[in-house]
Symmetry: C2
Subunit: 284 residues, 2 copies
C-alpha cells in the first residue's frame, strides 16, 4: 500500500480522494509533472519544478506551496514509500467548485496530489530491444507546451499503437512529426546529425530533452532543432525518444520499416549512458 500526498496530508492510497467537483475531474483544469527517482534521489528536480511553475502561470493557477515545500513533499514520499527507483507524479488543479466554465473565486484552494510509482527505470527492456512506433495524426489542442492533464488523445494514440503491434505512437501534424505520445522524438541523420522538433506551442518542452541535447553538444555531436517527416525518419540512421521516466529510448521501427539496420543505434546507446551517468551525479 503506497503512501500518497493529497492537499497537505500523507494518506494510504486507497483513502486518497478528491471531490467530484474538482476541476481536474470536470474540466481537465490542471497540470502535472513526473520526476524520476534514481538511487532514492530526484533527477533534474529543479527543471521539473520550474516547468510546473510555468504551466501554472499559463493557466493562472496559484499554488500555495513554496519551492522548499515542494522539494520536501517529494523527499517525504521517497522515504515513506522506501522508493529506490521509479517516479513521483505531481498534479495541481484549480480546486473544487460548483461546475462552471468560469473560473471559481481566486481564493478557492487548489488541489495538490503526489504519488509514487516504483519500477526499474534503468533496466528497461525497451532500452535493450528498441521500440516499434507507428505514426498517428496529431489531433491534440494547440497548447501542448502547457503540461496539462488533457491526456486523452495521447492515451488513445498509445492504444492505437498497441493495436498495431507497436510500442508507441509518433504524432504527425501537417505532415511533420511533433513528438511521441509521451516523449520527445529524435532521428540521427546519415551524416550523424541529431534532429528533433524545435520548441513551440505544438510540443512539450521536455526537461529530459533539454538535458539530453546538452549532453549531445558536450559530446561534440551536431544537433539540429527542426521539423522532420516520417519519411525522413524512416530513412535515418537511428531514431530515439526522450522522457523523464524513459531517459533516452531507442526506436528501431517506424510504421513497419526498420530504422538503420533495425537494431539499437550507437548514438542513442551512448546518449543514454552519458545522460544516466550525469543524472546520477546531479540528482538531489
Amino acid at each position: 500500500m503506497r503512501t500518497v500526498y493529497v492537499n497537505g496530508e500523507f494518506v494510504p492510497e486507497d483513502e486518497a480522494k478528491v471531490s467530484i467537483f474538482d476541476r481536474g475531474f470536470l474540466f481537465a483544469d490542471g497540470v502535472y509533472e513526473v520526476t524520476t527517482v534514481l538511487d532514492r534521489k530526484l533527477v533534474d528536480f529543479f527543471g521539473h519544478r520550474a516547468r510546473l511553475r510555468r504551466s501554472l502561470g499559463e493557466l493562472n493557477i496559484v499554488l500555495d506551496l513554496t519551492d522548499e515545500q515542494l522539494l520536501d513533499i517529494h523527499r517525504q514520499l521517497i522515504a515513506a514509500n522506501d522508493l529506490d527507483e521509479g517516479i513521483i507524479y505531481l498534479q495541481v488543479t484549480r480546486g473544487a467548485a460548483d461546475r462552471d466554465f468560469v473560473f471559481p473565486p481566486e481564493d478557492t484552494p487548489v488541489t495538490t496530489v503526489l504519488f509514487t510509482q516504483a519500477y526499474s527505470v534503468i533496466d528497461n527492456p525497451l532500452a535493450q530491444r528498441g521500440a516499434k512506433v507507428v505514426s498517428v495524426d496529431d489531433k491534440r489542442w494547440s497548447r501542448c507546451d502547457i503540461k496539462t492533464v488533457q491526456l486523452l488523445y495521447p492515451s488513445l494514440a498509445k492504444m492505437e499503437a498497441r493495436s498495431k503491434g507497436a510500442d508507441d505512437a509518433w504524432l504527425v501534424r501537417d505532415g511533420l512529426v511533433t513528438e511521441g505520445s509521451s516523449n520527445n522524438a529524435y532521428i540521427v541523420t546519415r551524416d550523424g546529425t541529431i534532429v528533433t522538433r524545435d520548441l513551440s506551442n505544438l510540443i512539450l518542452h521536455g526537461i529530459t530533452r533539454r538535458a539530453v541535447l546538452e549532453c549531445a553538444r558536450n559530446l561534440q555531436m551536431k544537433v539540429e532543432e527542426r521539423p522532420f517527416t516520417i519519411e525522413e525518419a524512416q530513412g535515418a540512421r537511428e531514431a530515439f525518444s526522450t522522457s523523464a521516466s524513459g531517459f533516452v529510448s531507442p526506436v528501431v521501427q517506424i510504421d513497419g520499416k526498420p530504422i538503420g539496420d533495425g537494431s539499437v543505434g550507437s548514438v542513442a546507446r551512448q546518449l543514454r549512458e552519458v545522460y544516466i551517468a550525469e543524472m546520477r551525479k546531479s540528482a538531489i
Copy 2:
C-alpha cells in the same frame, strides 16, 4: 446540501469523492452530458442518453448501467433534490487504475457521477438582453464531436471573453466559426436564412441544435448548415446560440459590433418560445 450520485450510491455532496487515480482526474478520460430539468421533468432525455452511448462507444468505455437505470437515477436525483428547474450533470470515466497511458484491464469498474444544479433556465437575463461574444482561436483537439471532459480550452476561452467585457466566446478555426465555448452558434442572414456550422468532428453534435433546427423547419424557416465567418456574422440580421441549459440564447454583439440593430432578434425570440413550448410538452 445536494444529494449526488457516485458509483451506485446517493450521498451528500461533501462526501462525493473519486480516487486520485481516476482516469477522469489523471487523463481527462471521460465523457459527460447535461440534461435540463423543466417542471421536474427531463428535457430531450433520449437524445442525451443516445449521445452518451455514442461518446462512450468512441472511447471504448463500457458503462455498466442500462438505459432504464440511467433514467431512474436521473429521476431519483430530481426527487432527492426537489429539483423543479435546472440541470442534471452526468459524467462517466474509464475508472481508477494505476497511472498508465495504456488503458486498464477491461473489467476495471467505470466511474459514474451525477449531480444537480438548480437555477432558472427560463428566466435567464441573457435571453432578455442578448449576449455579447468575442471571437477566440479554436485551439481544441480535433474530436470535438465526442463530448469529453477535456474542457480546459473552452473554460479559458470563456475567461478571455469575460476579461474583454463579453459574455461568451465564439471559436474560430481556419477563419470559420465552429461553435461557442459551450453551445452551438447561429446567424440569421439578411434574407432570413438560419445558418449554422455543418456537423463534423470539429463541433459538438448538439442535442438542442437538432431539436431547434427541427422547430425552425416546422416553422417553414430556411436552414443552411454550412460554415460562416465572423465578418458574415457581424453583417447578419441576427445571431444566437443553442445549448441544453441555455435553450435558444440571442447574441447581440460580436467583437464589439452590434448585430442587426443590436437588440434581441425576432427569429431567436420565436425559436426560443417554440422550443421551450415543445420541450415542456415532450419532457419526461
